[in-house]
């Protein structure tokens, strides 16, 4: 919310709206199309998603191998185009790095997107309730957020995943259950401000129920910026998941994930230092795209907030 206070000194880069009657989304899309960086980030992300989703097909048709097929005669291969499956090298048992990256992408992206959806559901729900109902309910939710924010999340994740050894689905639920506080704070603040506005009073006067006011009148007003938060959230969750998997507590081998490929790479530093590069680069690229999309979306939805 700190961004709301950004000064309004932009003139030069403010894009004039095309026509007066254009709606929020039309205007946003109009600005977004002109934002080359965001569009590029979007294109890269879509490519990554498609590549990950098509991993089995690509693996068979292009590389003619599978993510677990080993070749003990071809261990620690340096990156080479002959055969193409070793374009990023091979690991300690001769598995193709590029193929494992594709499958790892499936896991990381899936966890990122679904877990972010979970945080969104919890965050928006609790934020609306806390902001609209206020009173003791708000106090309890606020106290819970303060408490949760005072535990270093990685410590908590560490305990949970070491004691419960979660599969990808449980991991999603756990991450989702821990990362909603930022969204709740945001939605709560917005709801606080919105509930005092005339159109809410009007809705209340004609007898709309609290649920209806929250879902039909407040939510649509908060929604645009929630998409911004969501893009950034997915990025953060992918970062956390990779760190967790790197520590050996997230996605477990033999399922490849970008994080646990790095654990392996670290064990073979001296033998094959180049193995460290590709998995981290994939995480970096994905998260970078998501953050850029988040920034671009925010600027497009509300040019006044543009972070110059």
């Amino acid at each position: 919310m700190a961004t709301v206070t950004a000064p309004a000194i932009r003139g030069a880069d403010a894009v004039p709206s095309r026509k007066v009657a254009a709606g929020l989304w039309e205007n946003a899309w109009y600005r977004l199309r002109r934002d080359r960086l965001t569009m590029a980030a979007f294109a890269v992300l879509v490519t990554l998603v498609i590549l990950a989703a098509a991993a089995p097909v690509i693996t068979q048709l292009v590389f003619d191998t599978s993510f677990e097929s080993q070749d003990l005669l071809q261990t620690y291969s340096v990156p080479t185009l002959d055969p193409p499956k070793y374009m990023f090298g091979s690991d300690e048992v001769g598995r193709s790095i590029v193929v494992r990256l594709l499958y790892g992408g499936q896991v990381s992206l899936f966890i990122g997107f679904v877990a972010a959806f979970v945080t969104l559901t919890i965050g928006v729900g609790l934020g609306l309730i806390a902001g609209y109902v206020r009173g003791p309910v708000d106090d309890v939710i606020t106290w819970f957020i303060t408490t949760l924010n005072s535990i270093p999340i990685i410590f908590l994740l560490l305990i949970i995943s070491s004691l419960y050894t979660p599969g990808p689905l449980t991991l999603i639920v756990v991450i989702g259950a821990l990362f909603w506080t930022g969204i709740t704070n945001f939605v709560r603040g917005q709801t606080f401000a919105l509930r005092e506005r005339e159109f809410i009073t009007a809705a209340r006067t004609v007898g709309a129920t609290a649920t209806r006011i929250m879902l039909r009148h407040i939510l649509p007003n908060v929604l645009p910026l929630i998409f911004v938060l969501m893009a950034i959230d997915i990025g953060t969750i992918i970062l956390v998941e990779s760190a967790l998997s790197y520590l050996g507590l997230g996605v477990m081998p033999p399922t490849p994930s970008w994080g646990n490929m790095l654990t392996n790479a670290q064990s073979y530093f001296f033998r094959a230092p180049w193995l460290v590069v590709p998995p981290g680069a994939m995480v970096f690229l994905t998260v970078l795209c998501l953050y850029l999309i988040g920034d671009g979306l925010r600027d497009a939805l509300d040019p006044r907030l543009k972070s110059t």
Partner: protein
């Protein structure tokens, strides 16, 4: 001021209680029996022995009772005995706390020392190439997995160029007070730990400085003939730094959490590493003490942040 600090201290109590409940619940509701785990493979152990052990550790009571038992001891600093090391859990952690604090303190210094000037320079040169460079760095610093940067730096500086050690605090066999050797060891982990914060600070300070520079009193300062330097340091920077104190909270959280991962990458013998090993070995007393110590660090840093904020901005009061 004293009343504010007292109130703020009181507010920390329900938070700490909440943390203890969460930590306790998470650890004790987990599947897997620690007694069975630690007696696994012991040939001549009977069911009776297991019962006795369970009774000895109080594991046969109901969960709320166990919580009260644990809490009443924990308040006095007794988190029980480590199942792995057979030493008091809190003692083990406190032994390693200075190591983590060293790392965190140096990281914070680096963040301020690099992040603040970066943000200022970017804001004062808005739109010029240097501004773009710093902004791009800011985005990259956010999006890059820090442990990966750590690994890359190890490959580059330790494995390939062999200029810095790849981990640990001290070369084996060196004197405990060998400061240059310690400095060489702490440099990489502290820098990597600082990265996210540097990005954060520079980005934040840039926005704040731009905000301040647009204010009327800056124009007044220029109008009355003050030099650029005076305006920047005395008027702009000081006012831009005030809201930065709030940014300290999330940054501290990142440092504490990040320390756990970075300690793992650089085999730094700190609180995070101990907690990590305890979690892998289901050493419950150490796990719980570790999370409580980590959370206490955060609660204390939030406290310091709020008090600092009240000091720099007298308008703040506890609501």
């Amino acid at each position: 001021m004293r009343a504010y600090i007292l109130k703020r201290l009181l507010y920390a109590i329900p938070t700490l209680l909440g943390i203890s409940v969460i930590v306790f619940a998470v650890t004790h509701l987990s599947p897997g029996d620690p007694v069975r785990l630690y007696t696994f493979g012991a040939l001549n152990i009977t069911e009776q022995d297991i019962e006795d052990l369970r009774h000895h550790y109080g594991l046969d009571k109901s969960l709320p009772l166990q919580y009260v038992d644990w809490m009443s001891l924990a308040i006095r600093g007794d988190f029980g005995t480590s199942l792995q090391y057979h030493q008091p859990a809190l003692g083990l952690l406190l032994e390693r706390l200075p190591n983590t604090l060293q790392l965190a303190a140096l990281a914070l210094l680096l963040q301020l020392g690099i992040g603040v000037p970066f943000g200022m320079i970017a804001a004062l040169n808005r739109g010029k190439p240097i501004d773009s460079v710093i902004r791009v760095f800011g985005v990259i610093g956010h999006a890059i997995p820090t442990f990966w940067i750590g690994l890359l730096l190890i490959v580059l500086l330790s494995v390939t160029l062999r200029v810095l050690p790849s981990g640990g605090m001290l070369t084996v066999g060196k004197d405990f007070w060998d400061i240059p050797d310690r400095a060489r060891h702490i440099l990489l982990p502290a820098f990597v730990l600082a990265l996210a914060g540097i990005a954060n600070y520079s980005r934040y300070l840039r926005t704040e400085t731009l905000d301040v520079i647009g204010q009327d009193y800056i124009r007044t300062a220029y109008a009355k003939g003050l030099s650029e330097r005076l305006v920047v340091y005395r008027h702009a920077l000081r006012n831009a730094l005030i809201p930065m104190v709030t940014a300290l909270g999330p940054i501290l959280a990142v440092v504490v959490s990040g320390a756990l991962i970075i300690e793992q990458v650089f085999t730094w013998p700190g609180v995070g590493q101990l907690t990590y090993l305890a979690a892998r070995n289901k050493d419950y007393p150490v796990i719980m003490a570790g999370v409580m110590v980590g959370s206490a660090l955060l609660v204390i840093s939030y406290l310091i942040r709020d008090i600092a904020y009240a000091v720099v901005d007298p308008r703040i009061k506890v609501k």
